[in-house]
């Protein structure tokens, strides 16, 4: 394997895109040949790239075509390129779709930059990096399926707690999962309505959601996955 590896990034959120760009391109192992904010833009700009990308780091949740839908289109243009998915979603369905579509790995967005770099290098070396929580989906599918409720304590927090929820926050989340209103949660724990709000706010930030419904949807997916 020869360095630098030609790298392309597809990510719609400017902040994340810039962070990835700045960090990865500062590494001697990589050379960024194309940075796009959508699959469409990527394909459009591809002919103008200084070199064909060997590695493509792509978001899934993109405007227009999703990252998953983009994989076959990208591979049609770049048969030798390897696509590594980056996503905030940790549900089995999306993981399977991505792998079936031809992705070689699947990382969650809370992966630290340094690990992300390592994973990209491992892709180039023939690996299939996956965030460990993601890997379990694949293992279970591989096993045909035998959903063992593995963790004894069951942290309903989330698969890969970049920022772990505090004990208090977990209690609040349990209240939401029980279908309670903020008012009832407040009464259950003898705290004020605003305090509940405050905790919820922090939970939403940590879990990257912005409504009760999204929070519960995340729990639902995790239980089905």
């Amino acid at each position: 394997m020869q360095f630098p590896l030609a790298l392309a990034i597809i990510e719609d959120q400017a902040a994340i895109r810039e962070t990835l760009h700045e960090y990865l391109c500062a590494q001697p192992e990589f050379r960024c040949v194309l940075i796009s904010e959508s699959v469409e833009a990527f394909l459009w700009d591809l002919p103008a790239a200084p070199a064909p990308p060997q590695l493509i780091l792509s978001d899934i949740g993109l405007p227009g075509l999703t990252g998953i839908e983009g994989i076959p289109l990208i591979q049609a243009q770049l048969p030798d390129a390897q696509v590594l998915m980056l996503s905030v979603y940790a549900d089995a369905e999306r993981v399977f779709e991505a792998l079936r579509a031809g992705a070689v790995g699947y990382l969650l967005k809370n992966t630290p930059l340094a690990q992300l770099k390592e994973h990209l290098l491992q892709v180039a070396a023939g690996g299939s990096p996956m965030s460990p929580g993601v890997a379990r989906f694949v293992v279970q599918a591989f096993l045909g399926q035998s959903p063992q409720p593995a963790p004894a304590g069951i942290p309903l927090a989330n698969l890969l707690p970049e920022e772990p929820l505090t004990a208090r926050e977990l209690e609040i989340v349990r209240g939401i999962e029980d279908g309670l209103s903020y008012k009832l949660i407040a009464e259950r724990h003898y705290i004020s309505l605003d305090t509940v709000r405050s905790h919820i706010r922090n939970v939403y930030r940590k879990l990257q959601v912005n409504s009760k419904a999204e929070l519960m949807a995340q729990t639902l997916k995790r239980q089905r996955g």
Copy 2:
């Protein structure tokens, strides 16, 4: 998940065993309850352990019973424990055997200690850590087998509503379970916001709930119970 996690190590090579022991047990997240040099020794000493291990880090190449052969025996004694394999072998056959036997992950012995620690924590959080080169075997096996083996169906029908939901209403409910707002549900089905409201109203009456949260809580309970 509560710390420290009760950890056991099975490794025959004294040097590696001591390295793992010293490093991991120095971490506040872990508490070493049993260090053995073979599966047989592990099982023998298990009753004398200060606490039942929650995580077991086991080598594969052991004298006597191999680590893989040991998994079912260990799980018979510790149904809630999770076994993470550690091996110098990176061949597909052994990986598959280990996973089939019940291992939750498979790491190579060249994994840095810091990463090993992270992987163990991820196991406790429900992950399936695998060294990236190992992961590709599993992905390929996954892709090689039945395209849609068992995505765990949608038993949404088998709730017990005295009044059954119509097809349309079920679609709307699915939208809610995906965490969408009324607006997004309306867009998804090309109907107006008020129509969504109308359907939801009927669903709430039929299922005897009066908020999104209660509806989702009902779904959650049904899936757990």
